[in-house]
């Protein structure tokens, strides 16, 4: 879209999103030629919330429990499939691992996938599988692959012009493997404009969208006024306009509007009623869910909330798996269930898709997949001489669980199956990452063959444009 020709563009496709994009200046990717149908048509969702279980969430310890074997000193590891008891959920015959009772109670509102199969990329590197999950491309790539959120931002633009289209909550980049994480938290060749708006700490979210700390509204306005006066009086104004200058001015206007907008209050968690706040307040992830809900109410497009990846932290359990998962479940169970309930009660769940996923699963014995085991990263004993060895400590790629709610996803539905005995791998309806991406894009009305030409080659949302939505998951 080109900013000089407002009138033509205006008439051809005036919409809030277009106006927002106009205000933000024409994106670099306009230089890319696209070849696709029109995005946004026949959609069943407007917003996506990705709940990212970073570090490899064991399916047998969460949403796909197997036989429970309590800890005994010097027991054989191979005997253990689950280290928790399981309990029934709202769905007939479907059990979840202990600690996920609240989520179990909202499963009538969504779909449980028990057959996600991660890529086989040999030696495990979390960030590499995460790169693959988020971009659908295995690193390294010859061109910088865009994050799913960037594709969505590019195709649909912001839902509300003053809420950035791609918001990433909870990940800090000061941790190990940070560079690998940065490599996929990017819009890649689509251009910075579609990159993530980072809110590493949800309780500080407001700071990202209000005038700088210590600057009151009056001063903020005065400063902006001065900026406008200086532009208008600058002698180079005589040189006339050009896209560089215009895009600068427009993006500044847009930023000013955003920082002054009433919607920015959504970023302020302190205005949430205490009762609700307390349910969500299980830590940064829980508050991230709350922020995601508040932003969805104001018209967010794509939000990622992560438990945060940091090597050997969070879901990345190499020891004490059992004990640590108790904590992880406490962090996620209440907030996720509440998020689903809130969205549902507010009538937002119909057009908001919530996706819970992890880069792969874990197992006590198998590193990689049963038919392609790889070198283990941290030595694990076969005999569990200590409680700290009791847990799923190896990386398992052949069967993982996912949850999907809302935005056109079936309700009270279970898809796929893993074996009940080790290896607990996918035995029914395997789902791969391109299917997941296309399902999400499908719901948003983004055609499966969406592509841009970069360095003269077509680059699709999913490799070679081949991925197809998993129709069975959709209503």
């Amino acid at each position: 879209m080109n900013i000089q020709w407002n009138r033509r563009e205006f008439l051809q496709r005036a919409s809030a999103a277009t106006m927002a994009a106009l205000a933000a200046g024409a994106p670099i990717s306009n230089l890319l030629t696209s070849c696709r149908g029109k995005a946004g048509a026949n959609s069943s969702a407007d917003t996506v919330i990705l709940l990212w279980m970073a570090g490899g969430m064991a399916h047998t310890e969460t949403f796909d429990p197997k036989a429970y074997t309590p800890f005994e000193k010097d027991m054989e590891g191979n005997r253990v499939l689950s280290t928790f008891k399981s309990f029934p959920t709202k769905l007939d015959g479907i059990h979840f691992s202990d600690g996920l009772q609240s989520i179990g109670q909202v499963m009538d509102k969504g779909t449980l996938i028990r057959s996600y199969v991660a890529a086989d990329m040999g030696h495990i590197l979390h960030s590499r599988h995460q790169y693959h999950w988020h971009t659908c491309y295995e690193p390294p790539q010859t061109v910088a692959a865009p994050h799913m959120g960037s594709w969505i931002a590019k195709e649909l633009g912001p839902k509300n012009p003053v809420i950035p289209a791609f918001i990433d909550i909870g990940q800090r980049f000061t941790v190990g493997e940070a560079e690998e994480l940065k490599a996929f938290h990017t819009a890649g060749f689509l251009g910075n404009e579609f990159g993530p708006f980072f809110i590493p700490d949800p309780s500080q979210g407001l700071e990202s969208v209000r005038p700088p700390v210590g600057m009151d509204a009056k001063r903020f306005e005065r400063r902006n006024q001065l900026y406008n006066e200086l532009i208008n009086n600058s002698p180079v104004g005589e040189f006339g306009s050009d896209y560089q200058r215009e895009s600068l001015k427009r993006s500044m206007e847009q930023a000013y509007a955003l920082l002054n907008s009433p919607e920015s209050k959504a970023f302020d968690l302190s205005t949430e009623p205490k009762k609700s706040y307390d349910i969500y307040n299980t830590g940064r992830f829980g508050l991230g869910c709350l922020l995601a809900r508040r932003l969805t109410e104001q018209g967010a497009r794509f939000i990622s909330v992560t438990t945060e990846y940091e090597p050997f932290k969070g879901w990345d359990t190499h020891e004490n798996g059992h004990t640590r998962l108790q904590d992880m479940k406490k962090q996620i169970d209440g907030p996720i269930a509440q998020l689903i309930k809130d969205l549902d009660e507010k009538g937002l769940l119909d057009r908001t898709m919530v996706v819970l996923a992890s880069e792969f699963s874990r197992d006590m014995m198998v590193e990689g997949r049963p038919d392609a085991k790889v070198k283990e990263q941290v030595a694990q004993p076969d005999i569990l001489s200590d409680l700290k060895f009791y847990g799923m400590h190896r990386h398992f790629t052949d069967g993982c669980s996912m949850l999907m709610f809302g935005g056109g996803i079936k309700k009270g539905f279970v898809y796929g199956k893993t074996a009940d005995e080790r290896p607990c791998k996918t035995i029914e309806n395997p789902v791969k990452i391109d299917g997941i991406h296309q399902t999400i894009y499908h719901a948003l009305g983004i055609p499966p063959d969406t592509q841009y030409e970069i360095e003269k080659r077509p680059f699709y949302t999913t490799p070679d444009g081949k991925g197809l939505a998993v129709k069975e998951l959709l209503i």
Binding site: N6, R7, R8, L11, G25, A26, P27, I28, N30, L31, H123, I124, L125, S127, R128, E138, P139, P140, Q141, T142, A144, P164, E177, E179, A183, G191, N192, G195, F197, S208, P211, P212, R219, R222, R223, L226, Y227, E229, L230, I231, N233, S234, F239, G240, S241, Y243, Q244, S247, L248, K249, S251, M252, A255, L258, L259, V374, D449, E455, K456, R457
Partner: protein
Amino acid sequence: MLFELIDWKHKSTVLRDGTRIITWVSAGSAVLAVVFGLLLAGSEDSSGTNLEIHRWAGIATMVLSLVTVFTLRSGNRSLFRGLLLTTVFGVSFAGHYGAMLTHGEDYLTSVLPGADKTVEPEGETEADFVLTNNGALTPEQIQNLNVEVRTILAHNCYSCHGEAKMKGELRLDSKDAIMKGGEHGVVVVPNHPDKSELIRRISLPKGHKEAMPTKGKRLTEKEVKLLQFWIEKGAPWPDGKEKSIYRVADLAPRTPQVPAATTELNKPVDLFVNAYFQKNKGSWKPVVDDRTYIRRVYLDIIGLLPAPEKVDAFVADTRPDKRELLAKELLSQNDAYAQHWMTFWNDALRNDYDGTGYITGGRFGISKWLYASLLDNKPYNWFVKELISPNKESEGFIKGIKWRGTINSSQRTEMQAAQNVAQVFLGLNLKCASCHDSFISDWKLADAYAFANIFADTLLEINRCDKPTGKIAGTRMLYPELGEIEVNASTEKRLRQLADFLVQPKDGRLYRTLVNRVWAQLMGRGIVEPVDAMDNLPWSQDLLDWLASDFVTNGYDVKKLIYTIVTSKTYQLPSTSVKDAGDMMANDFKFTGMVRRRLTAEQFADAISTSFTPMYADTALALKKLPEDIQSRLPFPRAAFVKNDPFLTSLGRPNRETVSTGRTSQANLLQALELTNGSKFTETLKAGSKVWKSQYPTSDSLVTALYRKALGRSPVPKELAAAKKILGPTPSEEGIQDLVWAIALVPEFQLIY
């Protein structure tokens, strides 16, 4: 929209001819339309003849409609009818031009069949000539027609009926394959387009089960006609070597004759541009003033703003050759030069201080080598040699980035080396061909593997789309005419041979690629674009060839090349405003002067550092990866040497996971947010305001000093007044912060004019 609505109202006047009230309403709305029209035209910067025509036709129509109303009142019915008719005509006329303004000139024709805008291949006119030919074709015409046919097939059919896939057992990428047909028999019956399955399928309506192509866009009417014509003529195929359907640039160097000097011009660059202007109706405008020149050349050569004293001295200097002297002086600042160009080469050689791969020992930096090379102005042939046939310090480039685990075979480090060497040094895209035969050039999978094998300790098995084929490609140069690699030599020796072959003067492509990159850096747009696609048509072949040839003659001296460019009158032309970023890359781009550029992230940060207060502390420097004495060489912690951070990222510093050969001049929202409330910039403003408050007791002195440092000039009275309004008579810290923020954000500061 208002326009359209009113136009519609006009039309309804016609339908209900004679209705007095409506005539009145129309006249009133015509007046309104003109008023709104003039307002709208004033509020936008649209211009051009269409607007002029629309404006005057609109005004004339308004006058006409008023006269019509009065005629109606006077009762002269026939005069009224005549005038009404004229008015209606006026409305249509003005309306048409108005629609052209709002919907584009093609708003009517675009809905006609065959008006789809598709990029027509080169040589289109030749084909037109062929199409009108009724007799026998000459061998040359056969050749041209054949190229056209293959171009159409390549763009529309190869991806499913080619080397990689053979849907319906049909291939359309060679004469034999086309004639052989697919599983359902022949597809081309020579002389009988009506009996040819190929024509039938491509002529079926979209959505038909058997229509081709099934994916992507339909063939244009013209393309179908061309294929019909070709079959009608017997589907001829030329004898001997097929001509490439893609434009392929000459490899050999060429030294064009420099046009004769004129009274005004004597530098070769200007003379070539002059010849270009004569051919393309361009014209010379007066060169920019001293202030503009000094800012431009400082930023381009050393990446910094000129200090106010330097600007004053330069303006006051009366020597006729002061611009040449300035360029020379800047180029002699070896450290400052290296510190600026480090950024460009870090991007291109995807060298960074942080990044993927380092964590597992799968990546090596080359910063120390790079800095030393730029500092010495290492001749470019040596520069390239040392990167391709590397020492310990420079091996990071061809070693690539190695991720743990299995990777796509087209991303093996040897293949990365092949791709990156081809892209950076030869402006050649080998990425497609490293997975399958390219659809966008003549490069084949085997070519890419043969080239990659030069970098490989053991020969690579060819993988097509990541599937092993059991074949080995051999070992050879992309351009065999440059030399033959000894297949059995050690990797080290092969790399030495490769480097030697590539840097030979007869490899014109290497040097054209480099001079074009430097030109693009200094002029905002390459002579060829994209700069990584050197087979594309340059806007001046002569200029490109001469620069490359002169570069070789001058001992591969990059600084001399920069000097040649920045001292040309061409460089000193006023900067060009480009209305649409897309126009920059257009095939029909017309050169008129340097295209305005935005400061890079590094230039912006350094400009804040020199004109206000340092943005980065010494602790931000990536010291471990840099030359040991770097701190003593830096005037202040320059942004090119700090690790990437959210501030620099938002201003466009790429993550250097892949080769990156250009930064965008386009601003965006995330950037504006970072500058408006990002902590990095806010903290800088706070720190600097304390220092400035203590240094400048009065607002007048502060504003003047700031303007001189930041913009190289004193404030005009209105600017001074606006600034003082925020500062008060004695500057407050907050006032200083806000003023600096506002100045840093204005286009005059952020752009190179």
